[in-house]
């Protein structure tokens, strides 16, 4: 790590002011630090100042309200999300996703906000000496290089995958994210928070340089809902997803009243598969319906040299989730 100065944040206003007064990358935010410190250690980022968000009051904790739903502060740790009784019971997809993240030590300090805003794990991006497109270079090295862990959907021109497990799960539940900037706060669908490299190759979300994520809101759990987070990995832990599926179903017996299918580990952003959702909605789920949903989920996939297996894998995970809903 290069040297930096450290500020314990005292208010959101102070944070947005400090961010507004600096150039991009000069001042960075840190909460759990489990991602950022890795970037600093690799000299991928060399900020002059880090703002410690952990000292901000009122940004940690989980609130449950029958009418407004679930509110999770951005500083809530992944471990607290994974073990929260209401989340486990009514929002299983989130608890399962949280429990699948990294390791106990990471879950104990990693935060919701950090998990949503973490940077890609791409091995070209994480190598200081490789000046890839994402870091202002000319090409994405995954295109002609080793691409086992890269994107099959939405990649062009940067084939990273978004590493978050919580994002697909929360998007599948229709979550919103509350953002505060110098002009005040705004709320948007978490689905719209993430961007693809075609829009901006350097960033994974729409957060402006002087904005911060303060909380995530999840609508009240609907009755007859079943939800799952299926994550395929090479290694039990710690390992990022080769592919994952966050799936939320409203079921009427074996018939799917509505489905929400969001893929992780296969695209530069959490990837909502409207195609798979359409293939399931209103259908009585059986083997062939679930297979069709899987096939539809990956019909636009464009694998690179080494990751065609992800197409099959994703397809199978979607089918499996659908069958689980019906069983």
């Amino acid at each position: 790590m290069e040297k930096f100065s450290y500020v314990n944040a005292t208010s959101v206003e102070q944070v947005t002011t400090l961010l507004s007064d600096s150039r991009w990358g000069e001042v960075m935010l840190v909460a759990g630090g489990t991602d950022l410190l890795g970037e600093l250690k690799e000299y991928i980022e060399t900020p002059k100042t880090l703002i410690n968000l952990k000292t901000l009051p009122g940004m940690e904790g989980i609130k449950v309200d029958e009418t407004t739903g679930l509110t999770i502060g951005a500083l809530t740790t992944v471990a607290d999300i994974a073990k929260h009784p209401t989340i486990r019971h009514h929002y299983a997809v989130v608890a399962e996703a949280a429990g699948s993240i990294a390791t106990p030590q990471i879950r104990n300090v990693g935060t919701l906000g950090g998990n949503l805003c973490q940077r890609p794990r791409c091995w070209y991006y994480r190598d200081e000496a490789t000046n890839c497109l994402k870091k202002g270079g000319d090409i994405c090295f995954a295109v002609d290089g080793l691409s086992k862990y890269h994107a099959i959907l939405g990649g062009d021109p940067v084939y990273i995958v978004h590493p978050s497990d919580l994002a697909p799960a929360l998007i599948a539940l229709g979550a919103s994210v509350k953002i505060v900037g110098p002009e005040g706060e705004k709320t948007m669908l978490l689905e719209d928070f993430f961007t693809l490299p075609a829009a901006n190759p350097f960033r994974e979300n729409v957060l402006q340089s002087n904005e911060i994520v303060v909380e995530v809101q999840v609508p009240p759990a609907k009755p007859n809902t079943k939800s799952f987070y299926l994550k395929a990995r090479e290694k039990g832990a710690p390992d990022f997803a080769l592919a994952s599926v966050a799936a939320v179903f409203e079921m009427d017996g074996k018939t799917c009243a509505s489905a929400s299918i969001v893929l992780g580990g296969v695209a530069p952003a959490p990837w909502r598969s409207k195609e798979a959702e359409a293939a399931l909605t209103g259908k009585m789920i059986d083997d062939s319906v679930s297979r069709q949903a899987g096939a539809d989920a990956v019909k636009d996939a464009q694998p690179l040299n080494d990751n065609a297996y992800k197409v099959t894998l994703t397809q199978n995970l979607v089918s499996r989730a659908a069958m689980m809903a019906a069983s």
């Binding site: 000496a129 290089g145 390992d239 990751n307």
Partner: protein, 706 residues
């Protein structure tokens, strides 16, 4: 003739005894090289090349030298020389803190003229590849060809043939304590080095040579060390650099490799690619074997592998080559050449058996000349439930399919002469055993205590064992080749016996008995023919006064033996939708000769199995042909087994004879073939490239379907 006696006579040898270093290791008190804090300690760091091949045009250390807190900057490459792999040393820094040292190496300016490089075997062997070694045309060594029998006649007798290509990628050692040293000069001519090494005396001799000092003026200490697996013998560039930085600054210097450098320059297991054609007779004998293969050990040679392996093949031809790439060099890694060869051979055996319509275990029984393994097959098959395997591989419609497989291995490990040791009995009754070996985690310290305690009628905790220090001047060899215990144990035993003899001679007159009539047990010396005559241990030793008994020993060949056989059985479950492999159970039947300590021996077998399963399912070094750099020089994308990968492991210490042999390496060998064959048995598709990862399973299943 010296012997270890019968099992029934052993009070300690062969029992399960917790290791002596346990308490220090679980409380954090054990000091590894990495933990050595010396007064005035400086921290060393090395700047390494990020490019695979380049000419060094200019090197400017001045900015780093001018930094506050920087005490020395040394060049490690000359301008005009060539960089030949990523990670090659450019310059080193010693500074007041590790962070300053890190800052300083980033302020060294090196001007590199990049050259075309090759980092994969395929690129190195391509027609227009840049020539990266002057002595190897096409970047390949001259083939090493061996022939035995008549291969053509062999194939004529064959009823079935298999032709296949098997591949294992480069694996790295991943020593958790990286290579490193703390070097401290007492004066211009006396150097002490704490080294994370498998060879205390090897490091001493290398450094003494480097600094042109008498060997006894260099002292090397390795009280505890965090894993070597074959990669930690000499001091290496980093060790000599630590000593040079210490000399330049007049202060102690600690220089540990980074995790990244550990992957890049601290050794690796070479890759293997072999194309083999083999035939078997209708009655199940492998009759012909024709193999062409290559591997890479980096820019150097050393990419050998065993082929054929274990099983007897009368007619064979083998051709091996080394391929040079611009990557850091190989070093010995746990059973060098064996796991690669075993994976290919055991896969081939199953493929031949299937063509013959024969049970793979029966096929092995016919072709395996080892009587020990024949017995192990029976035991292992029983333990795993061999009868439960799929009679038709891949049959059934379940999403998750189970299969069972078998693999085999062999090793030498009989030790060697050259160890010196002393066993000392002091007047206060304490006993010391000193030798220059090192405990790299195998438990030799405890084995020494057990042997001495057994001989002197004491408990292992009564024996103070000093190893891992060249200071006493009692040399022992490096801990490699599974040779340590078989090299050390006979010397310790004979030394302890000699010390006991001396003590008996001292007390025999007062007990009015002959020395031959004396025994010791339960801290008491007694007369065999008249049990009423006894003397307590402390009373006996108390008579020694200032004259401690201190005896050396010798390497009695009769106390050790080389050559061990092993076999393993694996049961796996393959999720055919995700390609995930779950290991259910591994049975490891390992010939161990005389296990001095059954507990630590079981630990070693477990450890071998787990390293083997890592190689089978997870581990692979990824080199990027575009940048020439290793893409996974970390522990995130270089994946070693964690808790979830561990199945039920049944480690069976298979007693064969009462002579000491080595068992550190052999248990990592049969695991690969056993797992690969189990996967085939589960899904009916053969994966011929390690590691067997979900992408390969899914791709193979899709190809089968198509």
């Amino acid at each position: 003739m010296a012997s270890w006696g019968e099992a029934s006579e052993s009070r300690l040898i062969g029992k399960r005894i917790p290791r002596l270093s346990g308490k220090d290791k679980v409380t954090g008190k054990a000091k590894y090289t990495f933990d050595i804090n010396r007064p005035g300690l400086l921290y060393g760091r090395i700047l390494r090349s990020e490019v695979a091949r380049a000419n060094v045009v200019d090197l400017d250390l001045s900015e780093a030298e001018a930094m506050p807190g920087v005490k020395a900057v040394l060049p490690l490459v000359e301008v005009g020389r060539q960089i030949r792999y990523q990670g090659q040393e450019i310059a080193a820094v010693a500074a007041e803190t590790d962070d300053i040292a890190k800052d300083a190496i980033r302020r060294i300016r090196v001007d590199l003229e990049e050259l075309p490089f090759v980092v994969t075997e395929e690129d190195a062997m391509a027609e227009n590849a840049p020539q990266i070694r002057d002595d190897w045309a096409g970047n390949q060594s001259e083939p090493n060809v061996r022939e035995e029998g008549d291969i053509n006649a062999g194939f004529e007798q064959a009823a079935v043939e298999v032709e296949a290509t098997y591949h294992t990628p480069v694996q790295t050692h991943v020593c958790l304590e990286t290579h490193g040293h703390v070097a401290e000069w007492e004066d211009d001519e006396n150097l002490t080095v704490w080294a994370s090494t498998q060879g205390v005396f090897g490091v001493r001799n290398d450094l003494a040579g480097h600094f042109n000092l008498p060997a006894n003026q260099v002292r090397v200490i390795t009280e505890h060390m965090g894993g070597g697996f074959g990669s930690k013998f000499g001091p290496g560039v980093e060790g000599r650099t630590a000593a040079n930085l210490a000399r330049a600054t007049g202060r102690p210097v600690k220089l540990m490799l980074t995790r990244k450098a550990e992957h890049l320059v601290a050794g690796n297991r070479p890759s293997m690619t072999q194309h083999v054609r083999a035939g078997a007779t209708s009655d199940g004998r492998i009759i012909a074997y024709d193999m062409k293969g290559y591997g890479t050990g980096g820019i150097s040679s050393g990419a050998g592998f065993q082929a054929p392996y274990v099983y007897h093949v009368p007619n064979r031809r083998t051709e091996r080559r080394n391929v040079a790439v611009n990557v850091g060099n190989q070093r010995a890694m746990r059973a060098p050449g064996h796991p690669q060869g075993a994976f290919a051979m055991d896969s081939l055996m199953d493929e031949l058996a299937e063509k013959l319509g024969m049970n793979p275990l029966e096929f092995r029984r016919i072709n395996d000349p080892s009587e020990v393994r024949q017995a192990q097959y029976t035991l292992g098959a029983q333990e795993i439930g061999w009868h439960r395997r799929n009679s038709v591989p891949g049959s059934g419609t379940a999403v998750k399919k189970r299969g069972i497989g078998v693999g085999s291995g062999q090793w030498g490990g009989g030790g060697g002469d050259g160890t010196q040791a002393r066993v000392t009995i002091n007047a206060d009754g304490t006993v010391e055993a000193v030798t220059g070996t090192q405990d790299i985690g195998t438990g030799v310290r405890t084995a020494i205590a057990i042997i001495v305690a057994e001989e002197l009628g004491l408990n292992p905790t009564d024996v103070m064992v000093k190893v891992g220090d060249s200071g006493p001047g009692l040399p022992s060899g490096g801990s490699g080749g599974s040779q340590t215990t078989a090299s050390v144990a006979p010397v310790i035993k004979t030394a302890a016996a000699a010390a006991k003899q001396k003590l008996f001679e001292r007390v025999a007159p007062q007990l009015e008995a002959s020395v031959e009539d004396l025994r010791v047990g339960n801290r008491t010396i007694y007369v065999v023919s008249d049990r009423t005559k006894t003397i307590k241990w402390e009373l006996a030793t108390g008579q020694l006064g200032m004259e401690s008994i201190s005896e050396g020993g010798h390497w009695d060949r009769e106390l050790r033996q080389g050559g061990v056989a092993g076999t393993q059985f694996a049961e796996v479950e393959v999720d055919t939708e995700t390609g995930a492999i779950r290991l259910i159970k591994i049975v490891a039947v390992q010939d161990c000769g005389l296990a001095i300590n059954r507990l630590t021996t079981e630990s070693q077998i477990n450890g071998g199995v787990i390293m083997g399963l890592g190689q089978a399912l997870l581990e692979e070094r990824f080199m990027d042909p575009q940048t020439g750099r290793m893409l996974n020089a970390n522990l995130e994308d270089y994946k070693v087994p964690g808790t979830f990968e561990i199945p039920e492991i049944k480690s069976i210490v298979f007693d064969t004879h009462r002579k000491v042999t080595g068992v550190g390496e052999p248990p990592c060998i049969p695991t690969l073939g056993a797992i690969a064959n189990a996967v085939y048995n589960a899904i009916g598709v053969r994966i011929r490239e390690l590691p067997i990862t979900p992408d390969k399973i899914l791709t193979a299943l899709a190809e089968k379907k198509a």
